[in-house]
């Protein structure tokens, strides 16, 4: 038997259903393609929150600001192609805040480490100690595993299913 695997994209996705005798806000049901479709480029919108930890959805389009975090982060490309450029931070440039990504004013002046070009299904390490920038020639979607931080955007009322259809 031949199987047809269904993955979503910005251009084509089908959202599931939530039918519960319960407060739907407890389940925070959303869809990454729908969230990215309604987001500004590089708005880092939380779709998962586990106390201090989050997963953010990013609509990658053009060049992002430069970011850095005091811990490892990980990106999974869900649609399109995204290039990640990395610059090594000197010890005194590593962010000292509690967690999450912060936006840097410009490309850091450290040595360039290289770049990763990732497509659907690829997972990329955004290592502690490196600043990174995302670039995409056309609208793409990524999920970033990180910590709730200054760049995390929360708009749960806008992205989640609040009542049954």
């Amino acid at each position: 038997m031949a199987y047809k695997t269904r993955t979503g994209s910005l251009a084509s996705y089908e959202k599931g259903v939530i039918e519960l005798d319960d407060d739907l806000r407890k389940y925070a049901f959303s869809n990454v393609f729908e969230v990215a479709g309604k987001s500004a480029p590089y708005e880092r919108v939380a779709v998962v929150q586990n106390l201090e930890y989050v997963a953010e959805v990013v609509r990658a389009e053009g060049d992002s600001p430069w970011y850095a975090a005091p811990h490892d982060e990980f990106a999974i490309v869900m649609d399109g192609e995204v290039t990640f450029r990395f610059v090594q931070l000197q010890d005194d440039q590593v962010p000292g805040h509690e967690g999450g990504a912060i936006r840097l004013g410009a490309e850091p002046n450290g040595p360039r480490m290289g770049r990763v070009t990732a497509r659907k299904g690829h997972q990329v390490l955004l290592p502690k100690g490196a600043a990174y920038q995302l670039s995409s020639a056309r609208p793409s979607v990524a999920i970033i595993q990180t910590v709730d931080g200054p760049e995390t955007v929360k708009k749960w009322n806008d992205i989640c299913v609040l009542k049954e259809a």
């Binding site: 199987y3 939530i18 005798d21 389940y27 586990n50 990732a118 659907k120 595993q145």
Partner: protein
């Protein structure tokens, strides 16, 4: 909580079927050709054997996972991270009302040894309860030759990220993990990693979908990446989750491909609350006050995000933390 100092005991072997019975504390476990029979001082319970074995090997392989693992509405385990409750009817209104519910607490090692001994005796060659039903034989019938390969495949747990030097490897043809038939229609390419001189090996990326597509087991997660105590697990799901999971904390699902239907019920009573159908790209929290069971019509890819902060279960149990994850303001 009294922790019983008990270990698994082998009881008689049934001459007709060849299967051995076992005792742990005051629970006894017997099987016949079709069913597992569980007895305790005040009651008895029957579970279809395929379901019992699928639940048992996962419960051991997961290290009893987070919180409650219901084999069905009546029987299951609760993880206290060092000790484990084995219960019958403790979270079932009918059993509670009838006064036949029973719970005993053992060391995790004792329960693991018991479930391993039962699995090894009750699983014969040709049947692997970690495989999808379409990919393995049947456990019904009398005892056959015992399997000699490993029954259990525990979590593949990356320390930082799969595929990094010194960390757990990604699956590949070379390591004996071909792409599963259900994902044969996908093209898997590698990310392009270009390091500047002097930074070789310091940038890293993998094809995560390829890793998931090569899993030879179902409903058996592996950890792909870790941010502090935030654990990203990935797993391939086909047919039905052979347990009902009641978490002791909030967890999150991100559906990466295809769809899974989740039945949702109250954790303590088992009363149904409804259903959730997750399709590719959907994100949903599983609150800490529910139990859930998944059904995947086609093999699918699921990402699970867990907060592994030690002691979190006590903060939820005490009411310090709400049993749902998001404050909508």
């Amino acid at each position: 909580m009294t922790v019983l100092d008990a270990k698994v005991e082998r009881l008689e072997t049934d001459e007709a079927t060849g299967y051995t019975a076992f005792r742990l504390g005051s629970f006894t476990f017997r099987r016949d050709e079709y069913f597992a029979h569980i007895s305790w001082p005040k009651g008895n319970h029957i579970i279809e054997i395929d379901r019992f074995l699928r639940a048992t090997v996962r419960d051991i392989g997961w290290g009893f996972f987070y919180g409650w693992i219901f084999f069905d509405d009546v029987f299951g385990t609760t993880n206290h991270y060092g000790t484990v409750d084995v219960f019958a009817g403790s979270y079932d209104k009918g059993c509670k009302d009838a006064g036949i519910d029973h719970l005993e607490t053992f060391t995790a090692e004792a329960v693991s040894e018991a479930f391993t001994a039962i699995s090894q005796d009750w699983i014969s060659q040709g049947y692997d309860p970690l495989n999808a039903p379409l990919e393995t034989g049947t456990p019904i019938g009398p005892k056959g030759p015992e399997r000699t390969d490993p029954l259990l495949r525990a979590f593949i747990a990356a320390d930082r990220m799969l595929g990094l030097p010194g960390d757990k490897p990604v699956r590949s043809d070379a390591s004996g993990f071909p792409v599963n038939r259900a994902f044969a229609d996908l093209d898997f390419d590698l990310p392009d990693v270009e390091c500047e001189p002097g930074f070789e090996g310091q940038l890293h990326a993998i094809n995560l979908f390829d890793h998931i597509a090569r899993s030879d087991v179902t409903w058996n997660p592996s950890i792909s990446a870790v941010t502090r105590a935030n654990i990203c697990c990935v797993t391939s799901e086909e047919h039905m989750l052979p347990v009902i999971h009641g978490n002791d904390r909030n967890e999150w699902f991100i559906q990466l491909s295809d769809e899974i239907h989740w039945n949702i019920a109250d954790k303590n009573s088992g009363a149904p609350r409804g259903r959730i159908v997750m399709k590719a790209g959907d994100v949903c929290a599983m609150p800490a006050d529910i139990r859930h069971q998944g059904f995947a019509p086609k093999r699918s890819m699921l990402m699970v995000m867990e907060n592994g902060t030690p002691g979190l279960e006590q903060r939820y149990a005490s009411g310090e933390l709400k049993p749902y994850p998001v404050d909508f303001g």
